[in-house]
């Protein structure tokens, strides 16, 4: 019989730490973490990616770490740890001998963890962890976005990385905490500093300029200039940051097709009205907490430091700079901490009452000592190599200056107390230092944890999944849009079929064309190739081209959608299918209750019109339900108002878009369907109530990896996935059944 064992606080904290790093840890760490997580009822086969995204799991672990609950696991935790330790030696050897990439280690670790999973205990519905619905706290004003940056890290020397991260921690803290303030005043600098703090230099951005269009290039040039200016001002920090966060390359992510979910993008940018970019760093669970806490305490002060710090820093000697900056930044920060929240307020208030109004001046005077205590305490509490390094570093910083002398004085003061019973004078100063150090320590610990979470995890999953074996791309030239007066319209189509992993065989083609117009949907010519290839190999894609002329009244004010589907056997599957879609707009196709409002760039307008027509043609019942709720749904192109990565339905009958999700008809349809889901719920709340109570829907969250555990997002995502025919919805059968029954039928 398996020994019952409790997940202890330390283990829960370690698990949270590993999850916060999102895979940027050694394979054995991941394997160890998954080994334990898999013993929690309801998480028997969760992957690392899903675990990282699962807010409920983190809440369980936070609850354990806070001693709120103590769930037992059916397996022996000690045995798991022993197993992990045994594997460690073998893994170290493997890492030394081979150039294996982290992705491979993670994939192998996940596979190993799954294989090891013992006979599953009967599924137990996850017990709510807290009394009140602990729904996710909204992130800090996640800004509209149109460009994401993925940072691919480069392997570096571990010790060098750790020491450099510690040395640059004050600078990065200042950048992070100053974010909102600096963004409001100087968005360009904020963006440049955000990138620099992650090790991205002007050189990295400059190298990639050729990959974006001319318009974006101009904006990015200004970003490059801004980074260069910061590199000059903060030359020492730049050198240390390069060592702390060695960057192999960066990738611009221009659409959901990039293959990364929102949580996997290191930093987002949204265009500024006046040009340039405003950075919106993507933060982890802990990162968010740390930054909110830090911003409230140190935001203004950090901003001032960054604004004033440049000249000072340039003149300092490398070795002294980190200490100096740490002290200056933190000193200013605490002096400015007039309105911290919660228990911090109580401590400050208590101090102010007990000690007198001059206490802040005293704190400022002794801040170097407070910082020293914080670094030592923070390092010890965090534990591990990095933590001890912080402790040691902090201790040296502290004791290396006047701190040692002061420390001696404290000791002397206490000895005096013990000898002469003069309690107050000797006791007050060190006590105050310790008390003030506590909030600083907490901020420091959270920041250290957060530091590891900036790196994009090596594994990725696509927002819009593609067939992993077969690629089908259908292109049309000219793409239009066309006026009714252009009829008859003659266009050329090119279809390229690619075998992605290995040769595909037993191939069959299906070609479908529909013209969606006000009067209804009618079929249109969709020729098939005269011969079908017996096989398609990865080295030689199959290309089929044809020219089609559309003429006649049935094409007036229509959307012509062509879908070419390939079904084939691969080495791993049989009957695998993939489709390529191309569409053209002629005149003004029907838009139902959708109103394409405001000003739209030509390409985006064409994309959203195609998406609207696609949704009307493909999901008429869904659109009819939407139109029953609102006689008009207004679609705006307004990137600053986009509250997610690709679109935003802030409430009521309005949806905002940016360019990122409108790269092709498929993506545009997906985004439109998702945001329309929010609008539908807003206008027909009984549907959302029914979704919450439909058996099994909430247990399947997140739907196709998106939206975490939030039912509101699950509702919209299930609709969107169904609308575009995502195969992943097969893994969420209850969500699929619900939308099929109540939304699309």
């Amino acid at each position: 019989m398996a020994k019952e064992i409790t997940i202890d606080i330390e283990t829960a904290r370690r698990l949270l730490f590993i999850l916060s790093l999102e895979g940027d840890v050694k394979r054995e760490e991941i394997e160890w973490a998954l080994g334990i997580i898999h013993q929690i009822p309801g998480y028997e086969s969760i992957t690392l990616t899903k675990a990282v995204q699962d807010r409920a799991l983190k809440e369980i672990l936070v609850a354990i770490a806070a001693e709120q609950i103590s769930p037992t696991t059916p397996k022996d935790l000690e045995t798991l740890i022993e197993d992990a330790q045994k594997r460690e030696a073998a893994l170290e050897a493997a890492e030394k001998t081979g150039e294996k990439r982290t992705e491979e280690f993670i994939a192998a670790a996940e596979k190993a963890a799954k294989t090891k999973a013992q006979t599953k205990t009967p599924p137990v519905p996850p017990e709510p962890q807290a009394a009140a619905p602990e729904t996710a706290a909204p992130s800090p004003t996640e800004a509209p976005v149109s460009l994401g940056i993925k940072i691919t890290p480069e392997a570096g020397k571990v010790l060098q990385k750790v020491t450099s991260r510690i040395a640059t921690a004050p600078f990065r803290a200042a950048v992070s905490f100053a974010g909102p303030t600096l963004t409001a005043d100087e968005p360009g600098r904020a963006a440049a500093l955000s990138l620099l703090a992650r090790g991205v230099t002007s050189e990295h951005v400059e190298k990639k300029l050729g990959e974006v269009d001319t318009k974006s290039q101009e904006k990015l040039q200004s970003l490059v200039k801004a980074i260069k200016a910061e590199e000059q001002f903060f030359s020492v920090q730049t050198r240390l940051l390069k060592q702390a966060f060695p960057v192999k390359e960066i990738t611009f992510l221009l659409s959901p097709e990039s293959g990364l979910t929102q949580t996997q993008v290191a930093i987002f940018f949204k265009p500024q009205e006046r040009g340039g970019f405003e950075a919106v760093p993507r933060r982890s669970f802990f990162g968010d907490l740390a930054n909110r806490f830090g911003s409230q305490l140190f935001g203004k002060a950090s901003s001032n430091f960054l604004k004033k710090g440049a000249e000072k820093v340039a003149t300092k000697v490398a070795g002294k700079v980190a200490t100096k900056l740490a002290t200056e930044a933190a000193t200013t920060a605490v002096a400015a901490a007039t309105g911290p929240p919660g228990w911090v307020t109580k401590v400050i208030a208590w101090l102010a009452t007990e000690i007198g109004p001059k206490v802040l001046g005293w704190i400022k005077k002794h801040f170097k000592d407070i910082l020293g205590v914080s670094l030592v305490a923070g390092g010890v509490l965090v534990g591990g190599g990095a933590g001890m390094a912080v402790a040691l570093g902090g201790g040296l910083i502290w004791l290396g200056g006047a701190g040692l002398t002061t420390a001696g004085q404290y000791a002397g003061g206490f000895l005096s107390f013990f000898v002469s019973n003069l309690l107050i004078p000797a006791f007050a100063k060190p006590l105050l230092i310790i008390l003030i150090s506590v909030p600083v320590t907490v901020a420091l610990i959270l920041f250290i944890i957060n530091s590891g979470a900036y790196v994009v995890p090596p594994s990725s999953s696509s927002v819009l999944e593609e067939n992993p074996f077969i690629g089908v791309v259908k292109e049309v030239e000219p793409a239009g849009p066309f006026e009714n007066s252009n009829l008859p319209v003659s266009v050329s189509y090119a279809i390229t079929v690619t075998a992605k992993r290995g040769t595909i065989t037993n191939i069959s083609f299906e070609h479908k064309c529909e013209a969606i117009a006000e009067k209804g949907t009618s079929p249109c010519p969709a020729p098939l190739p005269e011969t079908t290839p017996l096989e398609i190999s990865p080295v030689e894609p199959y290309v089929y081209t044809y020219t089609q002329t559309y003429s006649g009244a049935s094409y007036r004010d229509s959307l012509v959608i062509n879908t070419f589907t390939v079904t084939a056997d691969t080495s791993e599957t049989t009957g695998s299918s993939a489709s390529g879609v191309a569409s053209i707009i002629i005149g003004n196709p029907p838009t139902g209750c959708y109103n394409i409002a405001g000003t739209w760039p030509a390409n985006e307008r064409a994309a959203i019109m195609a998406a609207v027509s696609n949704l009307i043609g493909g999901s008429p019942t869904y659109v009819a339900r939407l139109c029953a709720a609102y006689s008009q749904v207004n679609l705006y192109y307004d990137p600053p108002k986009v509250c997610g990565a690709w679109g935003c339905a802030p409430g009521g009958n309005v949806i905002y878009f940016n360019s990122a999700g409108l790269g092709n008809t498929h993506n545009a349809t997906y985004i439109l369907a998702h945001e329309s889901g929010h609008v539908l719920s807003y206008g027909s709340p009984n549907l959302y109530q029914a979704y919450l109570a439909f058996p099994g829907t909430l247990g399947e969250l997140p739907v196709c990896t998106y939206g975490g555990g939030e039912p509101a997002e699950g509702f919209a995502e299930a609709i969107a996935r169904f609308a575009v025919g995502s195969s992943c919805l097969a893994n969420e059968p209850n969500n699929k059944l619900f939308v099929e029954t109540y939304i699309f039928r």
Partner: protein, 182 residues
């Protein structure tokens, strides 16, 4: 001599940290804001948070789905995905969460007709779908309901308190400003 000083210093630091932690805890346990005098608030099936006992909860709501000695008790609701919940830290219930489905035939009007319009609105993850948290802190009741229609998702019962205390204790994921994230 220097080494001795450092050692003494480390010992003192450790001691001071403990003292500091003790004083902090003491400071925390003495809230700076005056706690409102607990008074009887809204009740759910004769259960009044702050007054009713664990025995009362079990008597009125029946056998819980989990261990009846738990601090958080789950009870069957008409929603197969979400149970009614009662928080009973020791022997007194302090919070009850009632899950509403269409079968329950309850609407927001049942609450507003009795208590008037809620003085506070908090925004949470369902706000993008039109559902906000409406709070009557001094009445000990709150509900998650639709912004335009009378659809009701949940009713929360608690001891009458201030809105700040309510947010801190029961609505951590909610904000006074609407910040949609999608």
């Amino acid at each position: 001599m220097g080494k001795i000083k450092i050692r003494i210093l480390l010992v003192l630091l450790l001691g001071l940290f403990v003292v500091g932690a003790f004083l902090l805890l003491r400071a925390r346990s003495t809230p700076s804001l005056p706690t409102p005098t607990p008074s009887a608030g809204a009740k759910y099936k004769f259960l009044i948070p702050g007054t009713s006992s664990r025995g009362d909860v079990l008597k009125n709501l029946g056998q819980p789905l989990n261990d009846e000695a738990s601090e958080l008790l789950n009870f069957k609701s008409n929603n197969p995905n979400l149970p009614h919940q009662a928080v009973v830290p020791e022997d007194t219930v302090v919070f009850i969460r009632e899950i509403i489905t269409a079968k329950d035939k309850k609407t927001t009007e049942d609450i507003t007709s009795q208590y008037g319009n809620a003085p506070y609105t908090l925004y949470g993850p369902a706000s993008v779908n039109g559902f906000n948290l409406y709070v009557y802190p001094d009445k000990g009741i709150a509900y998650i309901g639709h912004v335009e229609e009378s659809i009701l998702l949940e009713i929360w019962y608690f001891q009458p308190t201030t809105i700040e205390d309510f947010q801190t204790r029961w609505a951590k994921g909610y904000s006074t400003t609407h910040r949609p994230i999608q």
